[in-house]
Subunit: 287 residues, 2 copies
């Protein structure tokens, strides 16, 4: 049982974590903090958080666990403020989509408290954002990746493991770099591709008509282009090297297809599409 949880950044992920732990009766009190006071008041109204503080120091006082759920670009500043106020037993964890950049910030800003930081990333979300988008079931049957380092306190890692398991998630531990490379492929790259497509089409003069004829395939394909722009700018900045490598590799796939179409090489297209379909069907399932 967590006596007090502090959530810095009460949005989709932070809010859902609070709701999930409350539903599991695994937390006594949740205090929020964020820059937008209206959002925090709404969080209290919705029962997502019990109260909120006016400063980070206020909010995290006596917290057993502090969850940092702000965009990647704001992590360093939060860590720097936390370093001055936490005690020896306080656990800090985060939910950032990249881990190397967060670990670097934590190492730099938390100083001797760095061992109390458990880097984490729940592989869950929707394209919606903000406290009103949160729901208790978000993490059920989803994976949460923790990327603890040699210095990370092992008991604290176990506590964060349990916290996520109580939300219905299965927890795995990965090396920081490995996490960032895998997520670049399955999450960061697809988001870039979806943003890019909608941006491209919305610049066409007849884009309103084009979107009018969009069917379910287009809607699903571009769903992630409705995600939070600030969050995704920060992901791009934090995991840029992996992402650039993958985008360039992807452009080679597009070159392959363009060349096959241009040279009317139906065989090459059929092989490429057939290979993709069979891999997707077998590895992800067709639903």
């Amino acid at each position: 049982m967590i006596d007090k949880l502090a959530i810095i950044g009460v949005g989709l992920i932070g809010g859902s974590l609070s709701l999930a732990l409350k539903q599991a009766e695994a937390v006594k009190k949740v205090t929020g903090f964020g820059r937008n006071r209206k959002n925090l008041e709404r969080g209290v109204e919705l029962g997502v958080i019990d109260d909120f503080g006016h400063t980070i120091a206020d909010s995290v006082r006596d917290a057993d666990i502090i969850v940092v759920a702000v965009p990647l670009g704001s992590m360093a500043q939060v860590f720097a403020e936390l370093e001055t106020v936490i005690t020896d037993t306080t656990i800090i964890t985060d939910v950032g989509s990249t881990k190397q950049s967060v670990v670097d910030s934590a190492r730099q800003c938390l100083g001797k408290r760095f061992g109390q930081f458990v880097p984490g990333h729940p592989i869950a979300g929707t394209e919606r954002s903000g406290v009103e988008a949160g729901f208790a079931e978000l993490f059920q049957r989803r994976r949460v990746i923790l990327t603890p380092l040699a210095q990370t306190d092992k008991k604290m890692v176990s506590t964060i493991d349990r916290m996520w398991q109580l939300c219905g998630a299965s927890v795995e531990h990965l090396d920081v770099g490995h996490h960032d490379r895998v997520l670049a492929a399955t999450s960061h790259l697809p988001h870039m591709l979806a943003f890019g497509l909608v941006h491209q089409l919305s610049r066409l003069s007849d884009h309103q008509e084009i979107f009018r004829f969009a069917a379910g395939g287009f809607r699903d394909f571009t769903r992630i282009a409705s995600s939070d722009p600030v969050m995704w700018r920060d992901v791009c900045m934090a995991n840029g090297d992996s992402l650039i490598e993958l985008i360039e590799q992807y452009q080679q796939e597009l070159d392959l297809m363009t060349e096959a179409i241009r040279s009317k090489n139906g065989k090459a297209l059929l092989e490429l599409f057939g290979h993709a379909k069979s891999k997707r069907d077998s590895l992800i399932g067709s639903c």
Copy 2:
């Protein structure tokens, strides 16, 4: 009420059309034809079609409406066979994803019967294929685009309009070239992009692990990469020029993003993502 409907190619679209018209009590008898006898037998078992013929001539005898629902690459051959067997009152329509190539084939193969051909395209589907994937509700609240020409018999166009309305669809008429350009953007390009991503990732040495960490966003984004490879090869061949133009334009979007990441231009990324999100939210809805 249609006395007899003949469906050449009893797959997801042809099968669903039959089921929808049966559910609407708008057809007395549906005869199927296709190259795969087992598929046709399964269609009869499932009640999708009432019976099937052993030749095209057999199957379409006395049909009021013939729906050609084969991959684009097989259309010309079907039209050539139909030309020799239909009467003055038989209506032919199709469900092909591109319209210029089908109209060209029909004009060439149907000869003096060309005016009896109503080019059509239901903007509906799933990533699944085959007769077992069909369901009566597939076209409800979906659009069907007809692209009649000056020579197309106006009464026959009205009959096909009504046929689709009875399936729950709303019907619009577009110019052939306009259809192909709009669909290249909202359907053909996204399919290429999805096939390309899955192909790329499946070539990485650790692709099995990469797919293991795929979340809902990736599943939705790549759903259309489980579509029928033959159908999509044919679409690429038929609408290649529009598609190549769009892929090249898309490559420029990727270049923009890569350059912004490389030069740590967060402002440019935020603008691009923000623009895409707001367009998608307003034009498609966030769900």
